[in-house]
Each structure stands twice: as structure tokens, then as C-alpha cells.
Symmetry: C2
Subunit: 338 residues, 2 copies
DNA sequence: TCATGATCTGAAAGCGCTTTCATACTGGTT
DNA sequence: AACCAGTATGAAAGCGCTTTCAGATCATGA
């Protein structure tokens, strides 16, 4: 194992003091040209790379940002994390990920791990930790939350308005003539995106003068499997519908498969809309009509916001909006004029 | 901001020396019961959490493992990373991810960032850094490579045999009576999984006495889009085929869509097989027949291996194998007896 | 009773870096 | 010539922890 070189090795070779080397490395002071050159040469020669850990200790900051996510392999969180990573690029900061797997205790553990490692800021995605704890946490270090609005921390939150965006897909179906619209919800919690989107569904129907039929909504959990089960449940109930809206794209995939299994064509027999617009949604058969949530962008914004807070520079919490993406899984209701 | 407590704060409150606190924390020595209790109480009271950064400096190890991946949001790498994370669980080690985005220079940069942060070991996935550099790197710290076999580092590599596994899908197609089998390859490099799988395709045909027809193979890049283009190219060439095999699932998704657009049914008109068995492949329409690569398992194995090397405990590099997963995208060739 | 080893604990050095502080030079001014 | 502000540099302290080393305490057996 080749020895790892230290700053004083460089100093010795360049015949200057460690302080000088440090100053050159960080540009914190002007140093004479000759010394600078000697030092640069020594660095080159030794292939010296500063020890970020040691810098962290000395400077009191680790140059890393903790990111708690739910599952790194989920397409949704994956895109968000990619955005975070992108936003950090070139800043010298790097992301340390920790997964909560949708369990509050694991999430707390993740948080505790991150603070143990003295991350300089924390980004949470899909967190289900109570508002109060998050408020507490934000007294210790900068916190930004994506996909949820935490009371008292509104400025540090990045999310689409689920009520507005959620209605987009439903409106689209209604405009195509559908009136019997089933809904596969997300994980039901007291509050959160799933609830908001469900409310959007109800509200949109109401606004269109369509009576809300509880028989048409099934509870899902944002996973493919729950879309599959959802459709089975619907049929078991004898529900009649011409369209299905889902709380996210993944459950729409499951719905799509269930329909396929029953020989029901999409969009000919039943129209289908999702929510999120995952990358793969453009490649399903048929390509999925959905409400686009700028996930990558949101991740990027989150890290930009964290960086701004760390640097003390002001930032405007630019709004992000959902946007209807019409592809091929929705069609005009047969025998109807839109 | 509540002050962050240090080990000496604890020591002061418990009226012992810092050394004693450290010993209790790490269990490196027996200490009198009364002191132990005082210390434990003080820790509780201050809500003290050791600073992992400082520990890292003092102990000369950062308790973090660097993982270079290509894109964190890719379903394939996402699963691998989830596996790595899982394998590290409870070990005290944590993963620091860095993406290379399929570009060697970015990958080198990632490596350099990781070594700057003094990670204790490095796991590479989908790396395209030359063998020689990797050999060099492994002299500095433990390195494990997944998805590729590096000469001189064979014991530290985890991958399926692409030649064996690659033939599985083709054999399946042949056994169903197909003889005109098109192939959408992965990114062509001098050596690597894409090449090996392509060779498997050729070899399997040859073994079955089917003449290799260059007109039937198109170069892809593992992305959905390339599957889409691949099919277009095939048709532009006037190629005739009854089945398509793809170098990975993602390109199979693209192929599926292209076929759908042309009104070609899967598997009725054309059979389709992928490679990888991504989570979502069970939910495509129709569910995709593919060769399963135990990606999560491979990630987990990689971290186990890294941990073993770090601890100096022996490890057996258990083989991983591809496995044919027959779903619904393949069918017996019409008018043929299998 | 005293030497002996075993056991527990604190002082202090050190991990690799940053940063304050003080010193030694500059090159003007008056 | 004497003085001062300004500049470049090194010495040294310190970040929060671990770990070596040595001292203190204690029980034990001769």
C-alpha cells in the first residue's frame, strides 16, 4: 500500500511551513511566487490530495449533506436523488444517503446516523417524521423537505400543490367524457400527499357535478402491486367505470397489467391516468397519460436551497407545478362527444 | 442552535477523564461500575452522540465505503445500490455514492472524491475504468467490482457469467421454435458485458445450427430509446424475425413500445426476451420474459466482501448465476411444434 | 509484611488540517 | 534616519476523538 501523503509531507518537500501549504491549497492568503511553485510541484510529485475528513474536523464542517430517502431503488426517489446530486455538483458538497424504508423508526435512525456524521444540512424526501420533530431538528441545522409542507418550515419545503395537480388528471378524464372514474389512492395517512390527491379527486368530481361514489375508490400504497389488487377489488365489488386514475405512476402500471389480464383494452375500453411521470412512463404500452411532477428538478432545488442556507445567501423558494402530460392511455369515452 | 456536545463535556459532567468516556463508548476497557453509570447518565442527559468525523481522524478510518455507480436513478443501478446499502446495515459502515454517468473522466473524478474523503473501501458498479488503473487503486485500498471481471482482481469481482446467462434467453426462444431472432445489443466496447452477451447470442445460434445474420442485430445502448430505434432500424432494413432478444430489460421496454406502435402483438406475433429482470419487468404488458440477474444480491455480496476484506476475515466469492424467468412475452412460434 | 502482578484511570500525544497570533521583512513617509 | 503600515510566513493551538503510557490502587501469595 503506497503511503498516503499529508500536508506536512508536502511542506517538508517544498521547504515551507504547513500553514503555507494550507494557504495555497485554500487560497486564503497570498504567498510568494517561488514558494507557491515549489509547493505546487511537491503536491504534484507526491500526488497529494487533502484529507477531507481532517479538513472537516478543523473547519467544523463536513462538506456533506445528508439525504434521507425511503428507498434508493424506487424510481421516484431515485430521480429525486439524482436531482439532489446534480444540484450539489461543483459545490464541494456531497450527499450522504440514508433510507427510511417508509418506517418512522428507521427514518429516525437515519437522521441520527447523519447527525453523528455531522452533515452540514439535511434534505428529507418522503419523510413521515412528525412536524414537531422536524421543527426541532431545524434548530440544529438547515433542513429542507421535499414532497411535503411542514408547518413552521414552509419556506424550506418543496412540493407541488397536490390539490391543484391532482385535479389535472381527473379534469382531463372528465373532459374526455368520462363520469365513472375509479381511483386508486396512495398510502392513507392523516395528512400527506396521498390524502391531498384523494381530496383533489373528490373535489374535482364535485365541481363537475359528478356524485362521489365510495365504491369507486380503493386504497393503494403507491406500489405496482396495489394497482393490481385495486382493480381486482373494483371488479369484486361489481364497480362500473370507464376510467381509472391513480395516485402515482407505479400503481398505474399495476392497474394496466390487471386490465391486460382481463382483456380490457387501454384506452379503448378504459382510460388510465397516473401521477408523477416517471421516466419509464413514456415507454409503457400504451405510453401513460399522467401528471408530471418535476421530480429531478425538485431534488435539484432542494440542494440549491440547502446550499443557499449554508452560505447565508438568500433564496426564493420557486414554486414547482404539476403539469398534465397527455399520452396514449386516455381516450374519448366511446359514444360520447367530449 | 443547541450546542453540540463533545466527549469532554460528558467527561466533565460525569467527573471522569475523557479517556474513560471513550473507553466506555467503545468498550475498549473495563471501567468501574459507578463511573460507568455516571457517564451513561451524562450521555443521556446531554443527548451526546460521538462525532464520527473526529473518530475517523483519530482512528484513521472513516467508516464509510465509497460506491461509484453510473446513474443513481437508473433502475438497474438503483437496485444494486439498494443491495449495497442492505449489506452494510448494522456494520457501522455507510455508503457514499458517486455517479460516473458512463463517462470515464467523471468516474475518475468520483474516485478521486472518494479517496479524498478517505473512504475505507470502494465498490464499483458498471465501471469502465481500465483494468490497470483498478489494479493500481486496489493497492491503496480494498476494491470490489460488480458486473465485470478485472484481470488480476478476479477474486474481488462479482458478476454473472454473461456468456452462460446470455444464452439462456436465446435458448428459450429457440426451444419455442424461433429461428429468426433479432438482437438489440448493449453499448459496444472492446470488452464488457455487452460484448459478452452479444457473443452468447451468436454462439447459441451457432450451436443450434442457425446461421448468424448480421442484418438481425442492431446496436443499442441499454436505454429504452435504443430499443425503440432498434426496431425501426430492423424494419428499415427489411429484416424478418419472429422474436427479439435484448441486452437488457430497459431496451426491451423500448422494443415493446415500437412493436405496439406498429400494431405487432407480443407474444402472438413476435416474442420478446430481456435481460436483468428489473423489478418493473413483472408489471409490463405483457410481463416480460427475461434472464434474471440477482442485482440486489450482487450489491449485498459486494458490501459483504468489502467488509470481509476490511476486517481481514476470509470470504468465499460465491458465484452468482443468471436464471431464465419465463413470463408472458414469449410464445411458441405459430405453426411450429416446439 | 512486602513485593508482585493485575486492574483501573488520567495525562498527554497525536490523527491531518485550519487559523490565530506574532514575528520578520518590505517600502514608503516625514 | 527613524517610523509606520502593510505583507508574507512560521509557530502553535485547537477541532473531537483514540490510544499509549505511566501512575495509582488493590488484592494476593510468599
Amino acid at each position: 500500500m503506497p503511503e498516503i501523503k499529508t500536508l506536512s509531507d508536502v511542506a517538508t518537500i517544498a521547504q515551507v511551513s504547513p500553514s503555507t501549504v494550507s494557504r495555497i491549497l485554500n487560497g486564503t492568503a497570498v504567498v510568494a511566487k517561488d514558494k507557491r511553485e515549489r509547493v505546487l510541484k511537491a503536491i504534484e510529485q507526491l500526488n497529494y490530495r487533502p484529507n477531507v475528513i481532517a479538513q472537516g474536523l478543523a473547519r467544523g464542517q463536513s462538506m456533506t449533506i445528508g439525504v434521507v430517502t425511503q428507498a434508493i431503488s424506487s424510481p421516484f426517489y431515485g430521480e429525486a436523488l439524482a436531482g439532489v446530486e446534480e444540484g450539489l455538483e461543483g459545490s464541494g458538497y456531497h450527499a450522504l444517503f440514508a433510507s427510511g424504508h417508509w418506517r418512522v423508526d428507521e427514518e429516525r435512525e437515519a437522521l441520527s446516523m447523519l447527525t453523528s456524521r455531522r452533515v452540514d444540512a439535511i434534505i428529507l424526501t418522503g419523510s413521515s417524521i412528525p412536524d414537531s420533530e422536524l421543527q426541532q431538528l431545524s434548530k440544529t441545522l438547515p433542513v429542507v423537505i421535499v414532497g411535503r409542507t411542514v408547518i413552521g418550515l414552509e419556506c424550506n419545503c418543496i412540493s407541488v400543490d397536490n390539490r391543484v395537480s391532482g385535479s389535472l388528471g381527473i379534469q382531463h378524464l372528465i373532459s374526455l367524457g368520462h363520469r365513472q372514474i375509479a381511483y386508486v389512492s396512495g398510502t392513507a395517512t392523516v395528512q400527506g400527499d396521498a390524502t391531498e390527491r384523494l381530496e383533489a379527486y373528490c373535489q374535482t368530481l364535485r365541481d363537475a357535478g359528478i356524485k362521489y361514489d365510495p365504491n369507486l375508490v380503493v386504497e393503494g400504497d403507491y406500489q405496482e402491486r396495489s394497482g393490481l389488487f385495486g382493480v381486482e377489488t373494483l371488479f369484486a365489488r361489481g364497480a362500473i367505470f370507464t376510467a381509472i386514475a391513480c395516485a402515482n405512476d407505479q400503481s398505474a402500471y399495476g392497474v394496466r397489467l390487471a386490465l391486460h389480464r382481463r382483456g380490457i383494452r387501454v384506452p379503448d375500453d378504459v382510460s388510465l391516468v397516473g401521477f408523477d411521470d416517471l421516466q419509464s412512463s413514456a415507454y409503457t404500452t400504451p405510453p401513460l397519460t399522467t401528471v408530471r411532477q418535476p421530480i429531478v428538478e425538485m431534488g435539484r432545488l432542494a440542494s440549491k436551497m440547502a446550499l443557499s442556507i449554508l452560505r447565508g445567501t438568500p433564496f426564493k423558494t420557486s414554486e414547482v407545478h404539476g403539469e398534465l402530460v397527455i399520452r396514449e392511455s386516455t381516450a374519448i369515452l366511446r359514444g360520447t362527444r367530449a
